[in-house]
Amino acid sequence: MTHVHTPAEGPPLDSADAISPQGGVLKESPLARLKDIGFWAEWASLVGLIVLIIVFQSADSTFLSTGNVEAMLTASAILIVLAVGQTFVITTGGIDLSVASVMTFAAVAFGLTYKHSSNLALACVIALLAGLAFGVANGLLVSQGKITDFIATLGTLSAASGAALIISNGKPTTVINSTLLKLSSGGIGVLGWSFIIAAVVAVIAHVVYFRTRFGTHVLATGGSAEAAAATGVRTGRVKLAVYTIAGLLAGLGAILLVSRVGAAEPAANTAYLLNSVAAVVLGGVSLVGGRGSIVGPVLGALLLTALTNGLTLLGVSQFYQPLSVGIVVILAALLSRFQK
């Protein structure tokens, strides 16, 4: 076997990808990379998170207290789960605008099932199935119906919100269940159960994204659907699969949401939609598809949660939160233009 690696080309084989969230290969020395704006773009979410932590911690020393860290991690769980789903979709060059509405619908379905059956497991299954169903619908509209992702998921966004209002009659359903409550209050150390669930999802997603044929096909479909198809990759099926994943994860998000709120509300969760896209952008995932990571969007979700939490802690009005999220996202998007 001949190896084409030379020492000048950096670390051979697997060691290279451990360094970059994109699974790419490092060629320059670490110092040279610090001067490279592309490096900062790729790591925007991590750098941003560190900067935020430093700023908020120096402004208020309770920011990094055990209680607040636990609260932040728990609060980030839903966004992490949604962002992971969104990452798969965006990597194929699509976008899922319906994630938050589908989560709302699944939450309402969860609430109603629990109210009528008092069966937590059944309610969870129904929530996941509800998310799955909308995901499959999105996937079929995009892959078979050849409808632009933007329009298709805008349609299901509205449909899911409407369906949630219809089946709930516009009223919230209180869900009181001790096991469900533990999900958002219990945990191991600072790690709440909901955060642990989100972390497990992220780890599985990372393995799927970088270590399976499916993950490679997702990247290839986003990179060049035509080239992928020419090698026999079934790009239609890949698209169907990523929207299905996003839907299923929206269903999981619904369970976490109900656990957190203690009720299933048909209210639109538009902030979750914007933040899920924002986390992906912050995570350095290419919006045209073909490049990305799971670590990046997860860090992006943590950053956005820390931002909201820190502003609240500092007593900044709630009204400033959407504004600050918007600014952060636009900055990240600007920075991502410098990505290689």
């Binding site: 076997m1 084989l13 270590r211 490679t216 096909h217 990247l219 992928a228 073909g290």
Partner: protein, 258 residues
């Protein structure tokens, strides 16, 4: 007997038979009743002016397009490829004119795209990246003069290096037929020589090769059989040993009738 007409006699040595294949894109009739044959163990060239329909024919054979009418027989079976995967499974590998590499993926990922090596059982199979990188390095080293590291992204490669990667991929999987649509169009002198060497080696190893090229010297140098297309039709075929560059040019331009 020799084949010197557009007629398509059925011979046991035929690997691919295209019979009366037509394909239109809306008003554009890209292929009109195209018939040609391709023998086992031979290099067959397909020539014609720009827009003659060569790439379209290639895409029909490799499962990207489905002809509106006509029959394609490969290895004695009538083929109905629904996807390029069907064609690859049947033993047809193609280097497309537009290369068909995914720029954001690395060289090794492209070489093994949709042919990934895995360990473990589906659906829990994980990529065997180490094996793929190792084999990719070997695949590339047989061809390229200036070997790109297999872990570099294709986006960073020069046009010629990309072409080399695409050719490597087509030549590396045990195929019965390797189709190359203008494989040396972007290559330097040395790389062209390497590719020609590789094409000969493929033939010597028993593969059939369908070569599309605008370089008549190359066609005369390499091929055993030449087919000529003009404006969506296959206007004639010649054994390479029995023809000349002038005759082929005449067929292409239409000054010589088949």
């Amino acid at each position: 007997m020799t084949i010197d007409s557009t007629a398509t006699p059925r011979t046991a040595t035929d690997l691919l038979r295209v019979e009366d294949v037509s394909l239109s894109f809306g008003p554009v009739r890209a292929l009109r009743d195209v018939s040609l044959t391709l023998r086992r163990g031979e290099i067959t060239a397909l020539v014609g002016d720009n827009g003659a329909g060569k790439s379209t024919l290639v895409r029909c054979v490799s499962g990207i397009h489905r002809p509106n009418s006509g029959v394609i027989t490969f290895d004695d079976n009538v083929i109905h490829f629904h996807t390029p995967d069907d064609a690859r499974n049947a033993g047809i590998e193609t280097v497309h004119q537009n290369l068909a590499l995914v720029e954001d993926l690395t060289v090794w990922q492209n070489l093994f795209l949709n042919r990934e090596k895995v360990y473990g059982k589906r659906p829990f199979a994980l990529l065997n990246r180490r094996a793929m990188k190792r084999d990719a390095a070997q695949m590339v080293s047989t061809l390229a003069v200036n070997v790109p590291a297999v872990t570099s992204r294709v986006r960073r490669l020069s046009g010629g290096q990309r072409q080399a990667v695409a050719i490597c991929r087509a030549a590396s999987f045990s195929s019965k037929l390797v189709i190359m649509d203008e494989p040396t169009a972007a290559l330097g002198v040395q790389e062209t020589a390497k590719v020609e060497q590789l094409i000969r080696r493929l033939r010597n190893d028993g593969h059939a090769v369908l070569l599309i090229s605008h370089n008549f010297e190359q066609v005369l140098r390499l091929s055993d059989q030449v087919w000529v297309m003009r404006a969506g039709r296959c206007v004639g075929g010649r054994r390479t040993t029995e023809t000349t560059g002038e005759e082929i040019v005449g067929l292409i331009t239409g000054t010589i009738a088949a």
